[in-house]
């Protein structure tokens, strides 16, 4: 991995990012519209390198690992590309076309969140600073 020391680091950052976006009124509204259980699968970088969002029926929860229930959508990619993606440095359409992101399930909900990636990136930068990981911030 180019940006992470081990498989725990990205999950720590992404879960904290979820917490941060949940506090943002506009983004939390966007997250609720996703209305899906999504598993972000980075296991190509380690067996425990994954986490999930549960945005179904007004819930806004996240947790490390694979969800207990069957996800509506699985997004498989490397932890480095996830870092680029949350930093708004990875065009999701191009990444999918070039198989850098593999998707299984309905992506319609996520599509509604895609326009907000720019705003998510602002939160991500703040989160990385809070974790003392300024060196990971992509310019």
């Amino acid at each position: 991995m180019e940006y992470w020391k081990d498989e725990t680091e990205p999950i720590k950052a992404f879960l904290k990012l979820f917490e941060s976006t949940r506090e943002d009124k506009e983004l939390s509204t966007g997250l609720k519209k996703v209305n899906q259980l999504i598993w972000f699968d980075y296991t190509e970088d380690g067996p425990n390198c994954s986490y999930y969002w549960d945005c179904r029926d007004g819930k806004l929860e996240a947790g490390a690992g694979k969800p207990a229930e069957k996800p509506d959508l699985i997004m498989s990619l490397s932890a480095d590309n996830a870092h680029r993606s949350w930093s708004n440095k990875l065009n999701p359409v191009m990444a999918i076309t070039r198989r850098k992101i593999r998707v299984k399930g309905s992506a319609t909900g996520l599509l509604r969140l895609a326009p907000k990636l720019k705003k998510v990136a602002v939160h991500y930068e703040k989160v990385l600073k809070e974790l003392g990981w300024e060196d990971k911030i992509l310019k």
Binding site: N91, M94, S106, L111, R112, P115
Partner: protein, 622 residues
């Protein structure tokens, strides 16, 4: 022949004679089929001083070699001829069921010439081809006529029908297939109307389709159908229709608002999105023949001023043209406007574009109540658009109906007062609902050089800049940044070649995104037996582009016509692309160099034409 049949129906409506012609086999190899072969047939006829509405004008419907295959995305067909809207070469593509049925009946296409004395329709049932009386259909809307034809001939007879707009020769009248699928652009419904031809009906008694290498084809068919179905974009299209990404496109600045004066409205993005359409009005999904994508919508608006019963629903272009472009975020109104346009037989892109221009003209005082016959043209007033403006245009009623039936460019010419500056078109064809300032600067270039005018489906540049295309085999390995000119002329060269292939093979742009370049070649070879390699195929695509340029040159079009309007080239006023300049002239100059086109004439140099095996064509222009 394989894939294609080699048979083209040639109808002289004046003489009421029908023959079946066989174009040289070499033309299929060099121009593929669809709009490419239509252009070659048109070139051969040589009617370059013929008015599109004169009886001598030819209208050519043409299948590609894949029509009739049980492969997703291959049921489309093309129509081509001289556009009454632009005066240039025009072509338009339509999905549905008609193209395969025509192939099964034993034909690749139909050439129409002449004019019947009384309203008629053309009936094709295998070898039986007749010109039949259709006086009772004249003056009626497409929905009623389509249903009537199904009752009269049978529900599995496939139809192409024009509406009152076509009969009245509105310059952007469409031809609708099965009451749902449109040959929308360039006004060929008006050409059919000028010939007194209300409809074409086809039925085959069996599903005949001959392919060169059935085993190779079958293997490829299975692989591609699975991948096309599972492709993420296609699954999103299936779920939410072609407006699935309208919200995302709005954030990118791709969706034009109020006649291209704004590029961003979050509220409109949400109100008009495919997800909203699904939640509020979708009743069923629909599809073209054998397609697993299923991007078509069936909708109903149960109540309110824009209530409509269950029937064909709007695609992205219609939603944006009768939504954001007119300053409206009323999705029900867009559904109803689309339904009305279908029934009257109007292209929703040109209708929306022309009305948007008129609304701005009214706002600026360039059109007054005197010019509009007392109709106030106000942004977002969809009741007026639906109840007054669209019917007036289709019937060319009153001063406003007559003016707007000409399209935005001719209407602006007639109006003057600087109103041409805020038309949004290239070569007279109103721009589709993708604003190059936000959607991608490469699209500004391809809109401008497209032979038929501003068009997002003439070539795949829209998809390239979005990131949905990846063709390393032909050098497209870079990740194009939509908001710059970097790599765009180079990408445009490949894009117009691919567009030539796509629109001549009549392969749907959504389905064929999943087909790699080697697979395209494999498909041509397995189905049509062309024996091509990648280079042969790309050359055929470019040859099609060159030929259409030559036709336009014979209509007097030169490099000066390869441009966009001041409105489309001014920096965007808001949203993501705010303030960004498009390096249009730089891109165009480089594109011309790469395509070896004469910078004045706008056509390929003589030596290049010869290199592409177009000696005969070169002699006519050099």
């Amino acid at each position: 022949m394989n894939g294609s049949t080699g048979n083209v129906i040639d109808v002289d409506l004046t003489e009421r004679s029908v023959t079946v012609a066989s174009p040289p086999e070499d033309w299929y190899l060099r121009y593929i089929g669809g709009s490419g072969l239509a252009a070659r047939l048109f070139w051969e006829m040589g009617h370059f001083d013929t008015d599109p509405f004169s009886p001598e004008a030819a209208l050519i419907f043409m299948d590609g070699p894949f029509a009739g295959l049980k492969l997703s995305g291959t049921s489309r067909m093309s129509v081509g001829g001289r556009s009454p809207l632009t005066g240039n070469w025009g072509d338009s593509s339509c999905g549905g069921y008609f193209g395969p049925e025509l192939r099964y009946a034993g034909y690749d296409g139909i050439v129409l010439r002449g004019r019947t004395e009384a309203p008629s329709l053309l009936l094709i049932e295998d070898d039986r081809i007749e010109i039949v009386d259709a006086a009772s259909c004249w003056g009626k809307g497409i929905e009623e006529v389509n249903s009537g034809l199904k009752e009269r001939f049978g529900k599995n007879h496939r139809t192409l029908v024009i509406g009152p707009a076509g009969e009245n020769m509105v310059r952007y009248a469409l031809i609708l297939s099965e009451g749902h699928h449109a040959f929308g652009r360039a006004g060929f419904g008006a050409v059919m109307g000028s010939k007194n031809l209300k409809a074409i009906v086809v039925k085959s008694s069996k599903q005949r389709m001959k392919v060169a290498d059935p085993k190779r084809y079958e293997k490829l068919r299975k692989e591609l159908n699975t991948r096309i179905k599972e492709n993420l974009t296609n699954s999103v299209l299936r779920e939410s229709g072609t407006a699935a990404n309208l919200e995302g496109a709005m954030f990118a600045g791709d969706v034009p608002i109020r006649n291209f004066t704004s590029n961003f409205s979050e509220e409109m993005g949400e109100a008009l999105s495919g997800a909203t359409l699904t939640e509020k009005f979708l009743t069923r999904r629909w599809t073209c023949m054998y397609c697993t994508v299923g991007c078509k919508r069936i909708v109903a608006v149960p109540e309110g001023p824009f209530a409509i019963p269950e029937g064909p629903g709007p695609e992205y272009e219609t939603i944006a043209a009768f939504g954001a472009l007119l300053g409206s975020q009323d999705l029900a109104a867009a559904c109803k406007a689309g339904r009305i346009c279908n029934d009257l037989g109007l292209d929703t892109i040109s209708a929306g574009g022309t009305i948007a221009w008129a609304m701005e003209a009214f706002e600026k005082g360039h059109l007054t109540l005197k010019d509009t016959g007392g109709v106030k043209l106000l942004w977002g007033d969809m009741e007026t658009v639906i109840d007054k403006v669209l019917p007036a245009i289709a019937r060319r009623e009153g001063i406003l109906g007559e003016l707007l039936s000409l399209g935005s460019v001719a209407a602006a010419e007639r109006t003057g007062k600087g109103s041409m500056d805020y038309t949004c078109h290239s070569k007279g064809l109103e721009a589709p609902m993708h604003d190059p300032r936000g959607g991608g600067h490469g699209m500004a270039l391809t809109y401008a050089v497209s032979p038929r005018g501003a068009c997002h489906v003439a070539d795949p540049m829209l998809h390239m800049e979005m990131g949905a295309c990846y063709y390393p085999e032909i050098g497209i390995e870079y990740e194009p940044d939509p908001m710059t000119d970097a790599h765009k002329p180079e990408a445009a060269v490949r894009s117009v070649e691919l567009g030539g292939i796509e629109n001549s093979a009549c392969f749907c742009e959504f389905a064929d995104r999943e087909v790699s370049i080697p697979e395209w070649v494999e498909l041509f070879n397995a189905v049509a037996g062309y024996g091509w390699d990648v280079e042969d195929m790309m050359r055929a695509g470019r040859r099609v582009f060159y030929l259409k340029r030559l036709i336009n040159y014979r209509y007097g079009r030169t490099s000066r016509d390869d441009t966009l309007t001041p409105r489309m080239l001014e920096p965007a006023r808001d949203g993501e692309p705010k303030g960004i300049e498009i390096n249009f002239s730089g891109m165009k100059e480089r594109f011309y160099e790469l395509m070896d086109m004469d910078p004045e004439k706008g056509i390929p140099r003589e030596a290049t034409l010869r290199e592409y095996g177009m000696e005969e064509e070169a002699r006519k222009v050099w």
